[in-house]
């Protein structure tokens, strides 16, 4: 398979963003990883081994489902859904993790650490560790661990140690800090499997590379199903791994419009959101080992963020996407929590699909602007994961009485 990655960046920089701003003690670790990554880029056999593992273990290729119900409902563009929810573990995160697992073997590391927001990356890492025989420690913001306990439960069942992080804002960025600190102390035997296209070089490129299977498959599937490239692709945008995965093979196809949707939370005016680019609230800065657009105050202290979906609740953004947004190649929008809940109800009722709240942002972005598409347009939504994990948040957001009663009764049973 032809490897096209060079255009992604030179020396780990994407325009003004990227780099590796880590303490000196971590320089050998990021160097070692970068060298191994450069080697596998040249190694077609590695990619084959990787993709075979995805097919055998995770269920790839994932389908590209025609969304007949939604397409008819709007009477505009034909909507296709890339089904990353059908991966084992229920999200795209596993693509990246299995790749990094194989890389770990190459490096001879025996312990893996990871950060997790929604818990999907933590679960994927715990699955990979169980399958490949590694020890795993997962850092998770204490607040996220509470919001997504179902995933904490699974990580523990899989044999991983879950460490709730109480420092800072107790969310994803703080979990990343703790993972970096752990890595600084243990890089001899430990690999840090970062879960998104952020962090110091080579993570943004490497995670993009492993997620590129999404758009590689999309390209092939669209050719078979439609005989043409899509007019638009929508993805949600947390750190940026699913968006990069869905976009990367189309970056050089200018007729394909690429739209990334951030967490608008309670709206722009509320200040309670995680929109870095769409609301134009972020500034270039350096934190967590790299330079990108961060939500920060005038002193450079990182700000608190908010989203109904833990997986999009992050202060930074992939340096690659920050650059692609600067250059206009990717358009960035934000969807509010309320828009997301509305979109969720429409998707579940028209398609019989249960999307993750993260992924629902991508749908909400499309629904808002579907009026300006034409019936022969082809639109793809990258459904990055499934929504089972979100049942508590969705039940609460919908104020569902039956659900509330169930939770209360269950709680009562454990109370005494």
């Amino acid at each position: 398979m032809k490897q096209q990655i060079n255009y992604l960046g030179q020396n780990g920089y994407f325009g003004a963003y990227g780099g590796r701003f880590v303490p000196e003690i971590l320089i050998p670790a990021v160097d070692e990883l970068n060298q191994a990554f450069q080697e596998i880029l040249q190694d077609g056999e590695f990619f084959k081994q990787y993709y075979d593992l995805l097919m055998d273990f995770s269920g790839r290729p994932t389908p590209l489902t025609y969304a007949a119900g939604l397409s008819e409902y709007f009477g505009k563009a034909k909507i296709f859904i890339k089904r990353e929810d059908l991966n084992h573990s229920g999200a795209h995160k596993v693509n990246n993790v299995l790749g990094q697992g194989l890389l770990m073997k190459k490096l001879g590391k025996t312990r893996v650490i990871a950060e997790t927001g929604a818990g999907q990356h933590g679960v994927a890492t715990a699955i990979m560790a169980a399958k490949m025989g590694f020890k795993a420690t997962i850092y998770m913001g204490a607040e996220d661990a509470e919001r997504q306990y179902a995933n904490v439960f699974w990580m523990k069942q899989l044999g991983a140690e879950v460490v709730p992080v109480t420092s800072g804002t107790a969310t994803l960025k703080d979990a990343i800090n703790e993972a970096l600190r752990d890595w600084a102390g243990n890089f001899d035997n430990t690999h840090y499997a970062l879960g998104t296209a952020c962090g110091p070089r080579p993570f943004p490129e490497m995670v993009t590379y492993f997620q590129s299977v999404i758009s590689k498959e999309m390209k092939k599937q669209l050719k078979e199903l439609c005989g043409k490239y899509p007019d638009r692709i929508y993805s949600c945008l947390g750190g940026g791994s699913n968006a990069m995965g869905a976009f990367v093979e189309f970056l050089q196809e200018p007729e394909v419009e690429l739209i990334a949707v951030e967490a608008g939370g309670k709206g722009e005016a509320s200040g309670k959101h995680a929109s870095r680019i769409a609301y134009d609230k972020a500034k270039a800065g350096v934190s967590q080992g790299y330079k990108t657009l961060f939500l920060q105050d005038e002193d450079g202290q990182m700000l608190d963020t908010w989203s109904i979906s833990a997986g999009l609740d992050y202060v930074g953004v992939s340096p690659i996407l920050a650059h692609l947004a600067d250059t206009g190649r990717v358009r960035v929008e934000a969807a509010t929590d309320a828009e997301v809940i509305d979109a969720f109800q429409l998707i579940i009722s028209k398609e019989g699909l249960i999307p993750a709240l993260e992924s629902t942002h991508a749908f909400a972005g499309l629904f808002r602007e579907i009026a300006d598409t034409k019936p022969d347009d082809i639109v793809v939504v990258n459904m990055s994961g499934r929504g089972d994990k979100d049942i508590f948040n969705i039940g609460e957001a919908l104020q569902d009485e039956g659900w509330k009663t169930f939770v209360k009764e269950r709680g009562k049973r454990y109370a005494d």
Binding site: R20, V22, E24, I25, G168, N177, R181, A184
Partner: protein, 261 residues
């Protein structure tokens, strides 16, 4: 460079110099100031003051928590700089500012260095400003005659040590082990060997920080390092035993240099 000369002179009368570290605003400015007074009375040679950052990845749990506590009180970078200025005017001891790169970057790299100079600071230590990424910070500091201290580790090979010596200025901060600030370091002969090698290759003053707990550790470093840096332990002593405890602690360390003339 100013500080290099000062250190050379100070080193003539002592076996090893001492640098203490505090987080500005923690637990409060008054305690900071009293601690600084105590440092000066007890023969501390250099004082490192840290401007808090929301995401201090080189710090362990003790400092991570105190960074956050200060920020929760709403203390701003400018207040920290004003405090430092007040201290440099009052105490005739060299001060260094430690912080993270984003603080410097948002302030404006050159503006920050200019301001440090203006308020009488001798240099800066920025652990997440790698030599190759933040070159303008190192270069401009050198131009302005301010120390931009670079960091070496046991993993720095000879080639890297030479870059560390060439790009940074003032002295070299040697981190003797993997990990973050706080937990204890064991200064085995292997570690001391690494420090000696760093000194030999770079020809610079070597300061050793991370995990120094008391007089024994400092005594152990004599002959290998030029400066011992005490950080988390200072904070813990103040928290547990107050300023009197700090006084006793520093006195015990000063004994390492006792009768060295």
């Amino acid at each position: 460079m100013q500080i290099e000369k000062m250190l050379e002179d100070a080193k003539k009368t002592k076996k090893i110099l001492l640098m203490t570290h505090q987080i500005i605003g923690y637990p409060d400015f008054e305690t900071n100031e009293k601690a600084i007074e105590c440092f000066c009375q007890n023969g501390v040679d250099l004082i490192e003051l840290q401007i808090p950052f929301s995401d201090p990845i080189a710090d362990g749990p003790v400092f991570t928590k105190s960074n956050q506590t200060v920020l929760e009180k709403g203390i701003k970078v400018n207040e920290c700089l004003h405090f430092v200025e007040k201290m440099t005017r009052k105490y005739p001891i060299p001060f260094l500012i430690m912080t993270y790169y984003n603080i410097v970057y948002q302030y404006g790299v050159e503006k920050f260095i200019d301001r440090c100079k203006e308020i009488g600071v001798q240099g800066t230590i920025v652990p997440d400003a790698p030599l190759d990424e933040a070159r303008s910070y190192y270069d401009y500091s050198r131009e302005q005659g301010l120390a931009a201290v670079s960091i070496a580790t046991p993993y720095s090979d000879e080639e890297r040590l030479q870059v560390i010596a060439a790009v940074g200025s003032g002295f070299i901060y040697y981190v003797p082990r993997k990990g973050v600030t706080g937990s204890k370091t064991s200064f085995a002969s292997e570690v001391l060997g690494g420090i000696r090698k760093a000194k030999e290759v770079t020809g610079k003053m070597i300061a050793v920080g991370f995990g120094i707990q008391g007089a024994d550790d400092v005594a152990n470093l004599v002959g290998a390092a030029d400066i011992a840096i005490i950080g988390s332990k200072i904070q813990q002593v103040i928290e547990a035993e107050g300023l009197n405890g700090l006084d006793r602690f520093l006195l015990s360390i000063a004994r390492v240099n006792g009768g060295s003339q």
